[in-house]
């Protein structure tokens, strides 16, 4: 029926409260010097140094088996680390995708050798991953993927183009979604995933795609008869569609789906301090209530994942509602504070506002567009 249950999330135990405050102190010590403008980069900030420190302190691979460098802690404890990182505007880019989706995919589908060589290095913060899904003619319609990998003895020969690959110019690996048999007309059939070493793949060229903010996060990866060792096949040949859907479930469930603009909320509040304005206080109250409820829904998804429940539908709702929150925040700010945004300004408010306005449009596109998510939710309600 219509009910899409969100179980009550666990209350913060003493252990979790301790982890939260220990981690807040860690962030403050590592990153306390960063400016509001830097913090507003949120999850698209990239720092190898910080990711190594995270690994060393045991905050990566939180839920993974110890034999692969993990820490066997709960999904909710990982959630605490993730949300505190985002709330602090930590530059998580060098471990974000690996810790969130690539590592878990390797745990689920990888060979022993892949697990042993890659997972411990992710947990140490040494390996950065990108996402190899979208193509020029295959965005939301992932099954239309054209990139082809042809088996040739001990290797695959890969030809095709991937786009929107965040940090491909910095990262070490991507998990490439490609076609190992048939044609795009075969849709889900004949697709596979390959682990591609970005630093060491003959025939691969990486070209920047500059976004409207003038920033270089995106890249185009062009494979021209590129050589990928056959042992880098992830999971089963031909099972790529199921695997990539499982990877997307990891991608859609987290608090990054509503915390991207949180630094603007802090700066807005700083601007409102000392103002006696009931309408402004009420707006902040409403936004805070919305945020608190999003957080509860998102923690509920974490609890479902901990219990190995399928949370795909719930995660889509959190991402859909969450993207509206983080995306409309600049409009609320503009109604309360008269200030022009300036992308090169060192002033906290003007610089942060500019960064958020520039980047906000992408938040209802990446990880599944608003339209795709609403289609998933509607299907979950039994329509079609």
């Amino acid at each position: 029926m219509s009910k899409i249950p969100f179980p009550s999330p666990p209350l913060d135990s003493d252990e979790v409260l301790a982890l939260r405050s220990e981690f807040r102190a860690f962030l403050d010590q590592q990153l306390g010097h960063r400016t509001p403008r830097q913090r507003s980069d949120n999850w698209y900030g990239f720092s190898r140094e910080f990711s190594l420190a995270m690994g060393q302190a045991g905050y990566l691979g939180m839920t993974w088996p110890k034999q692969y460098g993990g820490h066997e802690r709960s999904a909710y404890e990982r959630y605490v680390i993730v949300e505190e990182s985002l709330a602090f505007g930590a530059p998580v880019g060098a471990h974000w995708i690996a810790d969130r989706q690539s590592g878990p995919s390797i745990i689920k589908f990888g060979t022993d050798e892949q697990k042993e060589t890659i997972l411990p290095r992710i947990a140490k913060g040494e390996l950065a991953f990108g996402i190899g899904m979208s193509e020029p003619d295959s965005g939301s319609d992932l099954a239309a993927t054209r990139t082809k990998a042809v088996r040739d003895g001990d290797v695959y020969r890969v030809t095709g183009t991937k786009v929107w690959t965040s940090f491909a110019h910095e990262a070490d690996y991507v998990i490439l979604f490609c076609r190992t048999s048939g044609t795009p007309a075969d849709r889900h059939m004949g697709t596979s995933q390959l682990l591609v070493d970005l630093k060491n793949t003959p025939g691969l060229t990486i070209r920047p795609i500059i976004d409207l903010a003038g920033q270089h996060h995106f890249n185009e990866m062009h494979f021209e008869d590129a050589i990928v060792p056959a042992k880098n096949l992830l999971g089963q040949e031909g099972d790529g569609w199921n695997q990539v859907m499982s990877e997307l479930a990891f991608e859609r469930s987290g608090p990054e789906r509503f915390l991207s603009s949180i630094e603007l909320m802090y700066q807005l509040i700083e601007m409102l301090k000392g103002r006696e304005d009931d309408a402004a206080m009420a707006t902040i109250g409403r936004l805070t209530a919305q945020l608190a409820v999003l957080r509860r829904l998102s923690r509920s998804v974490a609890a479902m994942l901990q219990n190995k429940q399928d949370a795909g539908l719930q995660a889509s709702i959190v991402k859909d509602v969450g993207a509206v929150w983080e995306q409309t925040l600049p409009d609320f700010a503009r109604q309360l504070v008269d200030a022009e945004a300036d992308p090169r300004s060192q002033a906290a408010y003007a610089g942060v506002l500019a960064n958020i306005v520039h980047n906000a449009p992408s938040w209802s596109l990446r990880g599944g567009t608003r339209e795709i998510l609403r289609g998933i939710i509607a299907r979950g309600l039994g329509t079609r």
Binding site: G285, R296, L373, R374, G380
Partner: protein, 329 residues
């Protein structure tokens, strides 16, 4: 199990005629007698307090049902009044009860006096649980008279009452009746949204236009998805408010009740639009829910009350203190 009993009771005894009577302001005494017989007024009490000892999840389910069945009686208020009375160590309500904060009331020579605005079914209650400042009063029916009639958006009575009562049942208030009432309303809102979503799914599956069910249109599907999002938020908001009420955190109650109120308006709007003109009539049951949603979202402290209550400390916390405040909600 209680949920099944509630469902059965109202599906059996609450029909269109009964809803129409309630809209005329008529008290449904036979239905209330059934509510009492089932013991619903004690549903939020622990076993030691003489109640059912329900878990938080079971309490929430029962309260949501009062919304999803559009129950035209102050059942939720009576449950909440009894929760407050039991916590305060005062005698429980014997019949239907109301809840209000009434800080402007005066106590002179032992007589509690003043006017209490817009009490749900005020003339039909046996007992009124009032907080004046930090003191909780249990006012019996003989303690008030009708001051002025009033009507809610769902046409149920909301009279103003004139209190004049020799205050002999009072205790320190365990928590504010506004917080209690706002939490109850959040659950009722979630329940009503659940019913509204079910109806909207049903309508858009069966209503054919341009040769296909409405639901086959992507634009309709996306509105259904948004409605499901509002329902999810309202349900989580009610749970959040209830947990906060339990630990005595007024800001958590504010956050939960506020988000539920917002969902009430957003959800009612989508549901009506998706029904087309029939949703704007009394011929379709949707109106029971939309008018109730518009009623409940403004009761026990309106949106502005809760929004400023939460917004002020949020701003006072400053940029650095904001996130720790959010994680404590």
């Amino acid at each position: 199990m209680l949920a099944e009993m509630i469902q059965r009771l109202f599906e059996r005894s609450l029909d269109d005629a009964a809803q129409a009577q309630a809209r005329e302001g008529q008290w449904n005494a036979p239905l209330w007698a059934e509510v009492e017989e089932m013991g619903l007024p004690l549903a939020l009490l622990s076993e030691e307090q003489g109640g059912f000892g329900l878990s938080a999840a079971e309490q929430g389910e029962a309260l949501r049902l009062l919304g999803s069945l559009a129950v035209p009686l102050p059942v939720a208020e009576t449950m909440g009044a009894n929760r407050l009375l039991a916590k305060a160590g005062l005698p429980l309500a014997e019949g239907p009860a109301g809840l209000a904060r009434a800080n402007h009331l005066t106590l002179e020579g032992g007589i509690l006096k003043g006017r209490v605005e817009r009490v749900a079914w005020g003339e039909n209650l046996d007992c009124l649980v009032l907080a004046v400042g930090d003191t909780l009063y249990r006012v019996p029916r003989s303690g008030w008279s009708l001051a002025e009639a009033g009507t809610a958006l769902n046409f149920h009575p909301r009279p103003a009452l004139e209190i004049a009562w020799e205050a002999d049942a009072l205790a320190p208030a365990p928590h504010c009746p506004l917080a209690e009432g706002a939490t109850l309303r959040a659950f009722q809102i979630a329940g009503a949204l659940e019913a509204a979503l079910d109806m909207t799914l049903e309508h858009t599956a069966t209503r054919v236009q341009f040769g296909k069910p409405l639901q086959k249109n992507q634009v309709v599907q996306h509105e259904l998805a948004k409605l499901a999002g509002e329902l999810a938020c309202a349900t989580a908001a009610a749970d959040l408010a209830a947990e906060a009420l339990e630990r005595g955190d007024a800001l958590g109650v504010a956050a939960g009740s506020l988000r539920a109120r917002e969902a009430a308006g957003n959800g009612a709007g989508i549901a009506t639009q998706m029904h087309g003109a029939i949703g704007f009539t009394r011929e379709h049951a949707l109106h029971l829910y939309t008018t109730a949603l518009w009623t409940w979202r403004d009761e026990f402290g309106g949106q502005v009350h809760w929004a400023t209550m939460l917004g002020r400390p949020a701003v006072a916390a400053g940029g650095e203190g904001y996130w720790p405040m959010v994680t404590a909600l």
